[in-house]
């Protein structure tokens, strides 16, 4: 009888704890700090290339600052008498001869981010097509006139709203964005795309479909 009372306490306690845990996530609101890389893809490849040239790094030039690259940065920092933290700040960057302030590839970077967030599981040409849709919208009268305007147009891309836009794009997304900027457009002027299985808007089905690539239907 008493033993069961003890168990009663324990179960109430765990129940309250579970309710607390589950509601905490709900009330604490979505965490607004997303993953932000310190340096961009092109800067990362430049850093890796310089470290490789100097003999500190022998891994692949993939733009990903992983364990091997961080170790190489630390060794470099140790040899050059800089604080050994494995992070390329202004001092380390100057010693490495890498420019941290390059600004010219913003469009490429944003398109790559959008492609990665929206279509990373899609075949390569499907990723090129998503990048091409962004560029087609820039030229089309029904949409804003800059890459930034199009990507950040309210409710235009779901990945912009759930924060996935801030993930660091991979190499494939970069290549797809680069192809689209160089004129590849397998959709020939499409300005919409949707996944017929997950599309929530009835309206999108009224657009004239042009081509299906992977899971996406591209439409004008």
């Amino acid at each position: 009888m008493i033993l069961s009372k003890k168990w009663w306490f324990v179960s109430i306690f765990s129940l309250v704890f579970i309710i607390f845990c589950s509601t905490y996530n709900f009330f604490a609101f979505k965490n607004l700090d997303y993953i932000q890389a310190e340096t961009s893809y092109s800067q990362n490849t430049a850093i890796q290339q310089r470290l490789k040239d100097l003999g500190y790094y022998d891994g692949p030039i993939d733009g990903i600052i992983g364990w091997q690259t961080t170790q190489a940065i630390k060794n470099f920092q140790f040899d050059y008498g800089v604080t050994v933290d494995g992070i390329v700040g202004p001092v380390t960057a100057r010693l490495l001869g890498v420019d941290l302030n390059e600004q010219n590839n913003n469009d490429l970077y944003l398109i790559a981010k959008c492609v990665y967030a929206e279509a990373r599981g899609e075949p390569y040409v499907g990723q090129v097509a998503v990048a091409a849709v962004i560029l087609n919208r820039v030229k089309h009268p029904d949409f804003p006139n800059t890459v930034y305007g199009v990507v950040y147009q309210p409710w235009a891309f779901t990945a912009v709203y759930d924060g996935q836009i801030n993930y660091e794009p991979n190499d494939t997304a970069y290549k797809a964005a680069q192809d689209a900027l160089n004129g590849w457009d397998p959709t020939y002027g499409c300005i919409y795309y949707y996944n017929p299985e997950t599309a929530t808007s009835e309206w999108i089905f009224s657009r004239e479909p042009v081509i299906t690539i992977g899971k996406h239907v591209f439409a004008i």
């Binding site: 008493i2 033993l3 009372k5 003890k6 306490f9 109430i12 306690f13 309250v16 704890f17 607390f20 905490y24 009330f27 604490a28 609101f29 607004l32 490849t45 692949p60 030039i61 075949p123 390569y124 040409v125 030229k139 089309h140 009268p141 029904d142 949409f143 804003p144 006139n145 305007g149 147009q153 309210p154 409710w155 235009a156 779901t158 190499d171 494939t172 290549k175 797809a176 680069q178 192809d179 160089n182 004129g183 590849w184 457009d185 397998p186 959709t187 020939y188 002027g189 499409c190 929530t200 808007s201 009835e202 309206w203 999108i204 479909p209 042009v210 081509i211 299906t212 690539i213 004008i220």
Partner: protein, 467 residues
């Protein structure tokens, strides 16, 4: 029996302690929870207020811009001075650009207000085009369009002013626009009222940014009969991607490849194509589109992750030009290149009778590590390529040469057909010149010697960019 009751009291003591601990833990948890909740709620509310402020600012900027455009259109229609008109047209173009910008910051679903977007963008393009034309007197048609534009703008203005009044009374944009793609919200419906229900936006006919003629560009280069799916498959079977294979074609002429080909459906857009997925013997995946009309290779798309460069730029150019030949395009030469990581992007243009045809560009992407063809893009070529009648009477090239500043050294002189903005082409003398360490291209119209374009070459480590 006695022992048992002792044990009983011991156990109830333990129960009380557990209860006390439990209550304390619960109390602490609740306090922490409340504090965190309050902090986050505060953060959230600040964010929402900040967002509402941006929305309201964008809205009031939009109102301001639309008011300005309406007033300036009135001045434009009634002015008889061409300089003043030009000033008004330029200002309207700028106001329309900002209005478009303001509109794109407001929370409207993409299908909610696309015709208003289109109207404002075309208004910006139309006034920009008119301002460049140096019109002395508006034609009846232009006058009519401008008057209709002014009427539409007046209606839009009064509707926007009504919404302003509501916002002044406490209408909140963010709370009246719930997130949802394709779903109309209270705010969208209010804004839709800026388009009058019984008058459509006037049509603006012009060749300029955002015009219908640019969006619906006609395809000139595919006047062929349609082929069947099987014919298209044969064309795909004969594609080669590797440099060695191209030698096979040239030397043996009996090349057969071992790619896996899968039919991937049709495209029903501007270009009607049969689409295929190809897996080559070395595992690369390609996407290829063959036009129904004429069975031309329109697109080839692939990528790989190689990092070592084994092929020179000159070899890559040779590979691209040979590949073009295998597609029946015999007079294409490389006019521009850019290396990105391990890929080279090449632009090929036809050169016929020593005239370069820049509007008919084909883009080729080659992997510099293996020499494989990774991409082919011929939509620009097939959109523009046609039998052209070029200007026959040229002014002497010496006459235009004098227009080039003295400190420029002429490296070479050629004839080139260049695309001007928006569906126009013009035959020019092309002069490649150097000044100090910079290279420039000057283009002069062969008929009247007008300077049509100047390009500056920006030499990077990877290739030449034209600005």
């Amino acid at each position: 029996m006695k022992d048992l009751s002792k044990e009983k009291s011991n156990m109830s003591k333990a129960g009380v302690i557990t209860l006390i601990v439990f209550v304390i833990v619960l109390g602490v948890m609740m306090t922490v929870f409340c504090v965190l909740y309050a902090i986050n709620k505060n953060k959230y509310e600040t964010t929402v207020i900040g967002l509402e402020n941006i929305y309201q600012r964008s809205f009031y900027d939009l109102v301001e811009n639309v008011n300005n455009i309406e007033i300036k259109l009135g001045k434009l229609i009634n002015s008889s001075d061409s300089d003043y008109r030009k000033k008004m047209l330029t200002e309207i173009h700028e106001n329309a650009n900002s209005a478009q910008n303001n509109l794109s910051l407001l929370p409207i679903p993409i299908n909610g207000l696309s015709d208003t977007y289109s109207f404002i963008n075309q208004l910006s393009g139309y006034t920009q085009t008119l301002s460049k034309l140096n019109i002395v007197e508006f034609s009846n048609e232009q006058y009519k369009t401008l008057t209709e534009l002014k009427n539409s703008l007046s209606l839009m203005k009064s509707r926007l002013n009504k919404i302003s009044t509501e916002i002044n009374k406490g209408y909140n944009i963010s709370s009246n626009s719930n997130l949802g793609q394709g779903d109309y919200t209270n705010f969208t419906i209010k804004l839709q009222g800026i388009k009058s229900t019984n008058v459509d936006y006037p049509t603006m006919i012009y060749d300029g940014p955002f015009s219908d003629s640019v969006v619906n560009k006609e395809i000139k280069g595919l006047n062929f009969s349609e082929i069947s799916k099987n014919d298209a498959l044969k064309i795909v079977e004969n594609l080669y991607f590797k440099y060695e294979e191209s030698k096979d074609i040239v030397e043996n002429n009996n090349f057969t490849n071992s790619h896996k080909i899968k039919y991937a459906g049709e495209s029903k857009g501007k270009f009607k194509t049969y689409d295929f997925e190809i897996t080559t013997s070395n595992g690369n995946n390609y996407f290829a589109q063959i036009t129904k009309k004429g069975g031309k290779l329109l697109t080839l798309s692939s990528y790989n992750n190689n990092t070592s460069k084994n092929i020179t730029k000159e070899d890559a150019i040779k590979i691209a030009e040979n590949f073009a030949k295998s597609q029946g395009l015999n007079n294409l030469y490389c006019v521009w290149s850019d290396i990105v990581n391990c890929d080279i992007y090449l632009n090929l243009a036809p050169v016929v009778n020593d005239i370069i045809y820049y509007p008919d560009l084909i883009k080729v992407k080659i992997d510099l590590s293996t020499g494989d063809i990774l991409g082919w893009e011929a939509s620009t070529y097939y959109t523009n390529h046609t039998d052209r009648t070029l200007a026959q009477e040229y002014i002497n090239s010496e006459e235009v040469k004098s227009k080039i500043p003295d400190d420029f050294k002429i490296i070479h002189q050629k004839l080139a057909l260049i695309p001007l903005d928006y569906n126009k082409e013009v035959l020019c003398y092309e002069f490649k010149c150097s000044q100090n360490l910079s290279t420039y291209y000057f283009y002069y119209n062969v008929q009247n010697g007008n300077e049509e374009n100047i390009l500056k070459v920006i030499e990077t480590d990877n290739g030449n960019l034209l600005m």
